[in-house]
Amino acid sequence: MTIQFKDETFRNDYTFKNSDWAIKRFPFPFHEDSYMYSVNMEQHKGGPEGSIYEKRFDVDEHYLSEMHDRAQVLRDDPLRCQSLPNMTLAGWDLLELIMVSKSEDYPDLFELHRDGHKWRWINKPMKIDDTFTFLDDATLPYGPMEYITRQTQGDFVVLDQRENNLWMDAGMVTTQADWSLDFDIGMNFFEWHAPVPKAHEMGIFTRALKFLLNIQQGAPARRLNWTMTVNPLLDTSPENYHKWGVQKNTLTPENIGEKQHLRVELQTFFRLPRSNALVFPIRCYLASFDDLMTFPKWGRRLHRVIRDLPEELATYKGFIDNRPMMLDYLSKYDDGKVTSNGIWPDDETEPKLDHVT
């Protein structure tokens, strides 16, 4: 289908809205009625037609507005994009991966013409048509990683692999769930995960690192992660906490359905061939509670997951204070019926919602 790109905002007046198409393909992250950490990795090799898993780098109706928001964040704070000197080759790797993938997956939107090292890149939605020399930084307006990630939805963390560990040596991070590239730059896998509760004791990170170190060329992997955000804000950074943190206090029983968003990250992992680095794209999808309640299965399940989530996790994810209000809202959508397995809405087979008293 042709994507209708929207003109909308993720700040101030918050005109962001999901179309019915976007709600239906939203990556609902709970495959069962409860949630606990797990490495939950699978191969990133396509998925159902039209789903966010189908393409290597999903493009949706929010593309242009997200890129506009990113440019604004970078204007205010250039340190959201950083690359240590050892990561330039990895930046070219990433540029190549995205240009090749997007031009193959969306030939009507993106074109890549290669004549040896002379490359021409056409991004029709953003009205870009640039010719440059591959591996020659001087021929692009930004470094290779910054250039291509200003044109690609999602945050990008580029990890150097050495000493049996991964090092956060480059990234473009403007749509993050309360963490800072400027703080984490140069850290290794265990250092940047230090604040996460419970998972260390469960041995999650040791297992996850082992898995990631072994990700091979041609065999990318993916998982979903989630948190909660009040208002459709992309930039929930620690740097701007003073701006968005207070918005958590604006929820009321009347506006919660519209203002409270489930924030889901599609995290993918690709080995970069020329540098042997690993790229970790983190794509953020937002859906309001009202959006999610369109599907009875998601309503039932979200209520059960939020109700039963351990306190440490609700605190870490930043919604412990608002949890009672969320549950008041969500309980109206849980009639106690059994839900089907898996993340898909199954709207044709799941029972309609009974009146809940």
Partner: protein, 320 residues
């Protein structure tokens, strides 16, 4: 499926380089381009030898930017289990083979201000690709390459003619050896050290570097372990409920695969850790030959790396 993603290829050229080493070149059967790779990566080549499938890892030594073809250079090992002999004696232009996607366990550290490379014999192969990669990015590197004699100096002439100032060759038969202590002593801050060659050479260079206070983060080495023949032994695979016999000339991993049990692997040389297998019961002696398990893990008798390690004794039960 185990291993990394596979690429179907045909042998496009076989070039004998000297009495011991032959280069094999490959093209894709589907006519597409090969993936690029990083210098130091290896591929596992899969060949049919009658009923058995041979899988051997070799460093990619072609230019990492060249997507038209891949090449490996193979030293004939007359005392080995026959993998290299099979390549030398049986593989001809036009033959089919399967290559794995490249996997790099011997990557350049791109933070290095200088890359100091020490090669022994066939250990030159990963450096061939790394040198091409560094040349393209104007990297600062220097190679010290030890060979037996001029006749067995694989790629010596090419290296010297292309890089007369950066390549130093040493001939054992001329009693001409790398003066490692002086060489290491004179290196600028930020130098990374890379060693590939026989085990004795790696131990010697790493040992001297550590004595001089080089931190382990800047010392990189790759030793290509081939599985060694050994006494036959019997293993019970608990999860698949099978009892299998490991022959004299096959590895435990190969015997597991022969029985149709899918077991994970990547390097098949005791380095990557992918094939690590839990031991449920053991009455006998382990012959641990890998670089992966820590010494205490080897002593614990709870883990084995079936790609290179063996067992001798009464009972061995694995969780596979």
């Amino acid at each position: 499926m185990s291993g990394s993603e596979k690429i179907n290829v045909k042998v496009s050229n076989v070039v004998p380089l000297n009495d011991l080493v032959t280069r094999f070149e490959f093209k894709r059967t589907d006519g597409k381009l090969f993936p690029t790779f990083s210098g130091g990566a290896h591929t596992v080549i899969e060949l049919k030898d009658g009923d058995i499938t041979r899988r051997n890892p070799y460093s990619l030594m072609s230019d990492p930017m060249d997507q038209e073809g891949y090449s490996i250079s193979v030293r004939r090992d007359d005392a080995g289990r026959g993998g290299s002999l099979f390549l030398h004696n049986n593989v001809k232009v036009g033959d089919d083979a399967v290559l794995s996607h490249p996997v790099n366990l011997f990557s350049l550290d791109l933070r290095a201000k200088k890359h100091l490379m020490i090669a022994g014999g066939i250990g030159i192969t990963p450096f061939m690709a790394q040198i091409k990669q560094l040349d393209r990015s104007h990297g600062n590197w220097e190679l010290h390459y030890s060979v037996r004699n001029p006749k067995l100096g694989t790629y010596v002439d090419d290296l010297i003619s292309m890089h007369p100032n950066d390549v130093n060759v040493y001939y054992d038969d001329h009693k001409n050896f790398i003066d490692i202590v002086n060489l290491l002593d004179g290196q600028p801050l930020g130098t990374h050290l890379y060693i590939c060659g026989p085990k004795g050479m790696i131990d010697w260079v790493v040992g001297e570097a550590k004595k001089l206070g080089w931190p382990s983060e800047v010392i990189h080495f790759e030793e290509f372990l081939a599985p060694k023949p050994g006494e036959p032994f019997q293993v019970k695979l608990s999860a698949s409920n099978k009892v299998i016999n490991v022959g004299e000339n096959e590895s435990l991993l190969e015997a597991i695969e022969r029985e149709g049990v899918d077991a994970p692997y990547l390097c098949r040389g005791g380095a990557c850790g992918q094939c690590e297998t839990s031991v449920i019961e053991a009455d006998g002696d382990f012959v641990h030959r890998d670089h992966w398990l820590e010494d205490d893990e080897k002593l614990s008798r709870k883990k084995i790396m079936p790609c290179v390690s063996r067992f001798s004794g009464k009972t061995l039960v694995l969780d596979r």
